[in-house]
Structures are given as structure tokens and as C-alpha cells.
């Protein structure tokens, strides 16, 4: 892993198509501007991890047959 320091207004280049600029630093907060090709997905890591863990949970819970029974008997009007 590479660790390096940057000041406000300075930029990092990753390969030849990704640029990350430090826009603002305020205490613990850093605001970054990212320029990347459109096909590169950029996510906040914790959001991605949360979606992963929710998918795992959703997949696991499907095996509770009791819940499936409830699904079967569900009518749209039940939702309220």
C-alpha cells in the first residue's frame, strides 16, 4: 500500500485517466474531487460493504421457511 501526503489543491494521478484532487480540508473532513472514466465505478466503501452485508443477510434469511409461508399468504391489502 502506498501512503502519501497531499495539500489542499494538490492532485494525484492514478494511471493516466484518474485524477483525485484535494478540494478542502477541515479537521477530520477531506473533500475530494475525482475525475475518472465513466466506466469506473466510484462508491463510498462503507456503502458498498453495507450492500454486500445486506445481500448476505437477505440470502441467508430466505431459508427460513416460516417467512416463506407468510409470503405465500400475503395479500397486497395487508400492507397497511
Amino acid at each position: 500500500m502506498l501512503v502519501l501526503g497531499r495539500k489542499k489543491g494538490e492532485t494525484l494521478l492514478i494511471g493516466d485517466s484518474i485524477e483525485i484532487t484535494v478540494v478542502e480540508v477541515q479537521g477530520d473532513n477531506v473533500k475530494l474531487s475525482i475525475q475518472a472514466p465513466r466506466e469506473v465505478s466510484i462508491f463510498r466503501k462503507e456503502v458498498f460493504e453495507e450492500i454486500k452485508s445486506e445481500n448476505l443477510k437477505a440470502a441467508e434469511n430466505v431459508h427460513s421457511l416460516e417467512a416463506l409461508e407468510k409470503l405465500k399468504n400475503f395479500q397486497i391489502n395487508d400492507k397497511d
Binding site: 450492500i51 452485508s53 445481500n55 416463506l68 409470503l71 395479500q75
Partner: protein, 154 residues
């Protein structure tokens, strides 16, 4: 064709039933081929069954039934990935449900909907970068006590 499902046992499907997920879905990145099985008639639920992993079957629903005001904006790049040429009519939106033992506390992941181009049979779990939603929205109205109880359970 036939596949095995941990939930349904042996399942018959046709080539044209397959939805291809180029990127898989988060936590199951290697699963690319799925079929969608409608739930019991009259219910709004569907099953997203992986063809490669019999035990992987997610329960999904159409969000607008439970969340009439739900909106989702799909960026250009992902629209391209879904090959919909700007035609939203081609897209079906589902959300993944997490169903705990207490069915009333079921939640929907509105942050990352499953979007499918039903013509081209291409799908993805879409992650909006700045979304007002999270991964756990109750699908049934909750009383305040119930919300408090859930909060305590963590």
C-alpha cells in the same frame, strides 16, 4: 433446461428466462446468471434464483407497491450497461427484501435496487452515489414500540 434450487428443488426454465448480471451482485460477484420466479399468485413477491449457486435465492419485490413515491435516477454509464438506450420502459425495478423471523419487520433495500432490462435480459444491482435511501426500509407500517424494540435489538 433444468436447475437446482435449494428452495424450490428442481426447476425448469428456458434459455430466454435467463437474466445476465455482468457484474454479479455485491457479495456474489461470481454469479452472473439468474432467473426470476414469480411468487404465489396475487402476491407482489418474486424470487431471484442464481443458476450457478442453488442456495442463492433472493426475495425481491417491486418497490412502488410498498413505496409509491420511490424514485431512482440511473446514471448514463449504467444505462449504457443495461443497454436500454434511454428507454426506461425497458427497465424493471425490484428491491431485495430481508425477511427476519418476524415477517412484519421485513425490510427492503431501497439504496441498491435490482434493475433489469427485460428485453435484453441484462441486470444489475444499482448503487446510487448520493441516495436518500438506505439498505433497510420497513415495508410494513411500524408502531413506535416496534421501532424502539428493533432499535434495542441492534
Amino acid at each position: 433446461m433444468q436447475t437446482n434450487s435449494a428452495l424450490f428443488g428442481e426447476l425448469e426454465y428456458e434459455e430466454q428466462d435467463i437474466v445476465y448480471f455482468p457484474a454479479g451482485i455485491p457479495a456474489f460477484e461470481n454469479e452472473h446468471r439468474f432467473i426470476i420466479i414469480p411468487g404465489e399468485e396475487g402476491t407482489p413477491f418474486f424470487f431471484l434464483q442464481s443458476l450457478g449457486k442453488p442456495e442463492l435465492c433472493l426475495i425481491i419485490t417491486q418497490p412502488f407497491i410498498f413505496f409509491p413515491n420511490y424514485t431512482i435516477e440511473i446514471n448514463d454509464e449504467d444505462q449504457k450497461m443495461l443497454d436500454c438506450q434511454g428507454d426506461k420502459e425497458k427497465l424493471l425495478i425490484y428491491v431485495v427484501l430481508t425477511i427476519p423471523e418476524d415477517f412484519k419487520q421485513s425490510t427492503a433495500n431501497l439504496l441498491a435496487p435490482i434493475i433489469i432490462n427485460h428485453e435484453k435480459r441484462i441486470g444489475m444491482q444499482y448503487i446510487a452515489v448520493n441516495s436518500k435511501y438506505n439498505t433497510r426500509h420497513y415495508i410494513f407500517a411500524q408502531s413506535e414500540q416496534e421501532i424502539a424494540a428493533t432499535a434495542q435489538e441492534g
